[in-house]
């Protein structure tokens, strides 16, 4: 700490250079954190789902429906406690780019099976249950569009005829438990049934009596329907989610590759700045040595100086990213619901900043340690 002044003096010797380098590091870390957060968000989305729940869908694709008639047989499958169903609605409120997930569901079944994921006041549960055109909305969605409980809103569906208006009245607001999205929109499957001809469930959700029964239940169901017109694919909710996410393609790889490029680019900038500073200070280092400063001490001082720049820059970048993305409620145009800068990402970013500082300071630190005193002083005098 007694060397703090020395380090500070060196940093402020060329304020412009120090500030520019710090800002460069900040920009890079900002980007780094953003990229990593894309990955963590996608991975988290993958982790949504309970082990006790399974999804039964059309074997070809979730785009195709499964027959209503399957319901009664599914309830008889050993190990299955409850069967419910849902359908993807792809609803739009005003702007098609303002994406949020919307589902037509079996109300009683969903309230039962998803009771651990959503907290809903009893009176609102009832209100939702009672009304055909009622909707259950997540707190995040309420906030995003500024809706109020009891409000009637008009939506359209991307899937069903585009000019058809769908009025809904918001009767329930749910607060999600950690891990569940706060921006989902649920309404009565019966409403869908009434409005659209020949609608069938998009999928069935099964709650298992015991998670360990998943594999047997899956094979029982899929084998049963194997040769029928609508073969099924039964998988855990987890696997189902994973499948949806992997449809994006290898985004993770892309983000990591870009992240690496960012890291190296900034390393170059920081290292270059440190080396320039070192070159200018050669004679001073020589003088310090004549005063008795050891090679090792000077090595450390240079490293600390480099690390100070990158750590401050890193803090600026990481905090900036967190504030910006969470302040603006960034969701990646709907592709990245629940986007957030996690603490672990922030910590990882700071770690990178420290490593960056140490590496960028390595060469000049080494040079300072090895500087031949007499030779340097002769040049100056």
């Amino acid at each position: 700490m007694k060397y703090a002044r020395l380090i500070w003096v060196n940093l402020t010797r060329n304020k412009r250079r120090t500030i520019l380098t710090t800002l460069s590091v900040a920009a890079a870390l900002f980007l780094f954190v953003a990229l990593r957060s894309v990955n963590t968000t996608l991975n988290e989305a993958r982790d949504v789902g309970s082990e006790s729940r399974m999804v039964v869908r059309n074997a070809i694709s979730v785009v195709f429906t499964v027959p209503e008639a399957y319901y009664s047989w599914l309830t008889t499958v050993p190990g299955v406690r409850r069967v419910t169903w849902g359908n993807w609605f792809h609803g739009i409120y005003q702007d098609p780019r303002d994406f949020f997930p919307s589902f037509a569901v079996d109300v009683d079944g969903y309230l039962d099976v998803y009771s651990n994921e959503m907290e809903i006041p009893e009176d609102q549960k009832e209100a939702w249950r009672r009304e055909r055109t009622a909707a259950l909305v997540g707190t995040g969605l309420m906030e995003r569009f500024g809706w109020r409980l009891g409000q009637t809103i008009n939506m359209t569906s991307m899937i069903y005829s585009p000019d058809q208006p769908w009025p809904f009245t918001i009767r329930g607001v749910y607060t999600p438990f950690p891990g569940w999205t706060d921006e989902a929109f649920y309404f009565h499957y019966d409403y869908l049934y009434e409005m659209v001809e020949q609608v069938q469930p998009g999928w069935y959700v099964l709650e298992l009596e015991d998670p360990s029964l998943a594999a047997t239940v899956a094979s029982t169901i899929d084998e049963h329907y194997e040769n029928s017109r609508y073969a099924t694919r039964t998988e855990t909710e987890h696997a189902f989610q994973s499948g949806m996410i992997s449809m994006y393609g290898n985004v993770g790889l892309l983000m990591n590759a870009v992240g690496m490029a960012v890291f190296f680019a900034i390393l170059l900038v920081a290292a270059n700045a440190m080396m320039m500073a070192a070159r200018e200070r050669a004679s001073e280092v020589a003088v310090l040595k004549t005063l008795g400063f050891s090679d090792r001490l000077l090595f450390g001082l240079v490293l600390v100086e480099a690390a100070t720049i990158t750590v401050i820059g890193g803090l600026l970048g990481v905090v900036g990213a967190k504030l910006l993305f969470e302040g603006t409620g960034f969701q990646g145009a709907g592709f990245l619901p629940g986007f957030e800068v996690k603490l672990s990402t922030a910590m990882y970013g700071m770690l990178i900043a420290v490593v960056l500082g140490l590496i960028s300071g390595l060469v000049p630190a080494w040079q300072a340690a090895r500087l031949p005193v007499a030779h340097t002083l002769r040049r100056v005098a």
């Binding site: 520019l20 920009a27 393609g249 900038v269």
Partner: protein, 387 residues
């Protein structure tokens, strides 16, 4: 009155480490920019090239993708017999009513993916000029046979000629492979429409594609089709139909490319600023001499700006070279409109490389400006005293 350019070029070489690190920093920014744009262009090319401007694609009215569309045989028949449908050499209409479904295939590297299976009419290869069979033979009418698109071959199991794929409760023999100029069709499996119909959705087509007798008359063709009370269809220029599908993802990739490269550029520019300030500082005596000799400050500014541009140019070219190997590398994503997997390749074009260099030069310009101005404004006397 200009300071010789050789002065700057040699000065740049005098400080190789500084120059290289700055240039390399810019190179990385250009690399990221070019790579992401190449990804975006590759995707767009794959989708967009799928459709032709000479063809019309009709689907059920209101449907914007083939998957959710349904057209009856009569509708297809009526459209096929319309006067604006071009005729082939044999006098028969160049129209292909098609079945469009998704099938799940096993990937060779594990897992599975959804692939488009298109039941086409025998005329399909004439209607779509850019599609041709490159291996094997055409489909035999009435047989359980399929053709596999070039970009599926080698990525999915059972796609070699002679092998069998199973879907819709039937076995289908692969009798040939087809190529489609790198477009989205290459990510599809084609079979005979009459064979696919009973296997999948029953007596219904998903779309009909036909060649226009007069491609410039699309508007009137569209009006005729859509106003006909017998035909519940929406008509699109085939090219635009597919172009629409790629729009969102392309836009996202482009925005991401600009955003990411832009922020990286900030870092690189600041790095350049530092380097140039250091250069100007170290060469203060030289600058004083130039000013003493009578070179105008503006010349000094231009001179140092040029130096910054030299470094930037090196960075731009380096970045382009680093990006080149990416060209042609295949990757895939989901075409959300059809919910199917589409494979595409990075597309690094000369014009993209040029943009990369220009981007770098811009960074050099912005980064070099203030240091260059400082050099020009240098008070001669101050420095002469330092000496």
């Amino acid at each position: 009155m200009k300071i010789p350019l050789i002065y700057n070029i040699r000065s740049v070489r005098q400080r190789p480490v500084s120059t290289l690190t700055t240039a390399l920093g810019m190179a990385l920014v250009v690399l990221v920019f070019v790579a992401m744009m190449a990804l975006s262009r590759g995707f767009r090319a794959a989708i967009v090239d799928t459709g032709s401007r000479d063809n019309v694609l009709a689907v059920r009215s209101g449907a914007d993708n083939e998957l959710t569309s349904g057209l009856s045989r009569e509708t297809a028949q009526t459209i096929t017999s319309m006067p604006f449908v071009a005729r082939g050499a044999d006098g028969r209409p160049l129209a292909s009513p098609e079945v469009y479904v998704l099938v799940s295939l096993d990937r060779l590297d594990g897992g599975d993916a959804l692939v488009v299976a298109r039941g086409v009419s025998p005329r399909a290869f004439e209607v779509r000029k850019n599609v041709e069979i490159i291996r094997g033979r055409a489909l035999n009418p009435g047989a359980s046979e399929i053709l596999v698109g070039e970009s599926i071959v080698g990525r999915f199991a059972g796609t070699e000629i002679g092998e069998t794929l199973e879907f819709a409760n039937r076995d289908w023999t692969v009798v040939g492979h087809f190529a489609a100029g790198g477009s989205g069709f290459e990510s599809e499996i084609w079979g005979e429409n009459e064979q696919f119909m009973p296997a999948f959705r029953g007596e219904v087509f998903q779309s009909i594609t036909f060649r226009m007798t007069d491609p410039s008359a699309f508007e009137s063709v569209k009006t005729t089709l859509e106003n006909d009370p017998r035909l519940p269809v929406s008509a699109y220029l085939e090219y635009e139909f597919y172009a629409e599908q790629s729009a969102l993802l392309t836009q996202i990739l482009n925005i991401a490319a600009v955003f990411i490269a832009g922020i990286m550029a900030i870092g690189a520019v600041f790095g350049a600023v530092n380097t140039m300030y250091a250069a100007v500082g170290a060469r203060a005596p030289e600058i004083a001499v130039l000013l003493t000799l009578g070179f105008r400050p503006v010349s000094v500014l231009a001179s140092f700006l040029f130096e910054a541009l030299v470094i930037a140019f090196i960075g731009g070219v380096l970045g382009g070279l680093l990006a080149l190997p990416l060209n042609g590398i295949m990757t895939s994503t989901t075409n959300w409109a059809s919910m199917s997997e589409v494979a595409f390749a990075f597309r690094v074009t000369p014009d993209l490389l040029l943009r990369g260099v220009i981007f770098a030069l811009l960074m050099g310009l912005v980064g070099g400006f203030f240091p260059a101005r400082r050099a020009a404004r240098q008070p001669i006397v101050q420095v002469a005293r330092q000496v």
